[in-house]
Symmetry: C2
Subunit: 249 residues, 2 copies
Amino acid sequence: MHANRIWIPPDHPRAKSLYTREMLVDGYRRGLVTAEGLIAHGRGEAYDYLIGERTTKTAQRAIKAAAAMLLLSKRPVISVNGNTAVLCPRTVAELAKVTEAAIEVNLFYRTEERERAIKAELETHGADNVLGVGSRASATIPELQSERRRVDPEGIYRADTVFVPLEDGDRTEALVEMGKTVITIDLNPLSRTAKAAHITIVDNIVRAMPAIVEAAREIKGGRSLKKIVGGFDNKKNLRESLKIIKGGI
Amino acid sequence: MHANRIWIPPDHPRAKSLYTREMLVDGYRRGLVTAEGLIAHGRGEAYDYLIGERTTKTAQRAIKAAAAMLLLSKRPVISVNGNTAVLCPRTVAELAKVTEAAIEVNLFYRTEERERAIKAELETHGADNVLGVGSRASATIPELQSERRRVDPEGIYRADTVFVPLEDGDRTEALVEMGKTVITIDLNPLSRTAKAAHITIVDNIVRAMPAIVEAAREIKGGRSLKKIVGGFDNKKNLRESLKIIKGGI
């Protein structure tokens, strides 16, 4: 049914966006991404288009704050879903190494088969000790109804900071409620996720993840980490992102 | 892999949007919709969110102009893809009846299996004589590379007006180039499709299609059809839609 793949000319003005889309469709075929994940990606594409498909200076500030916060945390965890695993498995593994964070698979549409496939994808790209798969996810986040409430007692449950790229509003709010510091990537600055998180990176995950790794490497061991985090104002940052989107329309 | 369907509470603030999403995912499983169609739907969701998930007065004007244009045309054709067939098969059939338009299946990712499935879906919901399936699509639209260039000589090829809900920019431009009057539904007023078409309805297809049927029934046989079409300014209408989106952000 999907035999007619389109060849994307490298000089196509939106080649990168189309290539990312194909990665995700491929991830769907490999059982890593859900149909809902594809639709969510489409929403992201629309907001990315409005923001000009680039990492804004505003996003860059959030990226730096996120890197500093992960480096300052005692038990940081990177929460990975299907879309994240397909779009940036290597940078997830790199970020975990440089910030000494754990990686936990956490899915909205949870099946053990898909969890295992995502874990394998991350490991192929250099991740080790991936948490949250199968019976490991035995703790629960209070007040959450979806399967996403199940978390690893060694991971998200005891984390001080959770980095949840591409998260939904309910879960972000529940994590904040539990006292976690929450970092997210969300192209829609109006979403509940964007508003509930402590640090919201309004950017495409494909651009933001390598940028966080780079920022973390740059500032690691430096004395300014607390200053970077302290000087970051998420509400102001979201307002600026909105302004950029408005200006581009 | 997709066993964990979520029950959508009817009082959920975005129940309608979630229900529409589920219809599309179901259409994907039934072989009517492609993975790319799911992503495209996600883009639509984002713009619909920005426009307030309602049919604006601006959209209502375009809807009325579209209905009048279809009624005035000698050989109008409604071009149907997978997403359209899944989201509003009944109103496509109704609109074809009230405006005496033909229905033609026309796919970007073309396989005869999918064409037949879409034709069957439309017929189940009351459509007859669905064009464009298999060897019927023997004519071609010049300057188009995708499989979408193949059209039915009895349908789009000889049509004076083509209604293409959910179309891509290349094809819209090619149809305009061929001298067709093109009507489209596109939630992004900045898209090439929105700009190239003669009448662009900036609305969710799920709301717009029944509204076009209603408008066509209301004005059919009246003397004001030409006046309605003549008084419609697509550029101005797109500017107004943009303003509404900006105002909502």
